[in-house]
Symmetry: C2
């Protein structure tokens, strides 16, 4: 497919698809007329790239780990050097740190939300009970 379709299917601007290519994250083939030609698998790849970028990784890092987390799990023997292995382990560590941080924040936020909703329910109930004795309740909480 050409760049327009890929852009549409991934919700990514053409500009960015070209940028990712420039950064070495994507290597579409070229039609004889010079148009970029993307394979079907590129859709997932782009989505993965965007996910990682949105999670705060720089393209430099995405480029490094992308080949290692792509679908056809091929082992590149050139990756077997101690330096590469150490690098990959560092990146795994960093990913884990990020995940932990985000998870803690998400759970805290979730807890707050639960408490908030519980409080709102309690307020509504109180209002309902009060309505039995006094009319005209003014709780401004609708779903």
């Amino acid at each position: 497919m050409r760049i327009g379709e890929l852009a549409e299917r991934t919700g990514t601007s053409r500009r960015l698809l070209r940028y990712y290519e420039e950064q070495g994250l994507l290597s579409p083939a070229r039609s004889p007329n010079g148009y970029r030609e993307y394979s079907e698998a590129m859709v997932d790849r782009v989505l993965q790239i965007r996910g990682l970028l949105e999670a705060g990784l720089p393209t430099r890092i995405v480029k490094r780990i992308l080949p290692c987390i792509s679908k056809p799990r091929t082992i590149h023997f050139s990756d077997a050097t101690p330096e590469t292995i150490a690098m990959l382990e560092r990146e795994r560590e960093r990913l884990t740190k990020r995940i932990d941080c985000l998870t803690r924040s998400r759970d805290a936020l979730s807890g707050y939300l639960d408490a908030l909703l519980a409080a709102r329910r309690a307020a509504q109930e109180a209002a309902l009970t009060a309505a039995g004795t006094a009319p005209a309740a003014t709780v401004s909480a609708e779903a």
Copy 2:
């Protein structure tokens, strides 16, 4: 404590600490001489801010959810509006998406690493066995 100590203890530049304050993420007291005075709790707070920013959240969002995930879990009743609740739920959703994406990537990377290490071990063993018959093995894989 003053800005220098906080900077040191959080690994954050003074410049950034002032920037976070400007963005409304931090509100240190002021000494009579104008120096910023940070409480002990600010250390954790700064670390949390940095974690979220590094995870790709903009300061705008961090500012919104920070009060909801801070230590003394106080419910702010002004948060009980449907809009605020919806906003918090959206952010929770976004956090979850990020976590899932990062987790998938981390696990894929981890799997790749395992395979890589296994392959390296296999290569080493093969080299050792071969050494029994032919000397001078040339596998360049040391720990």
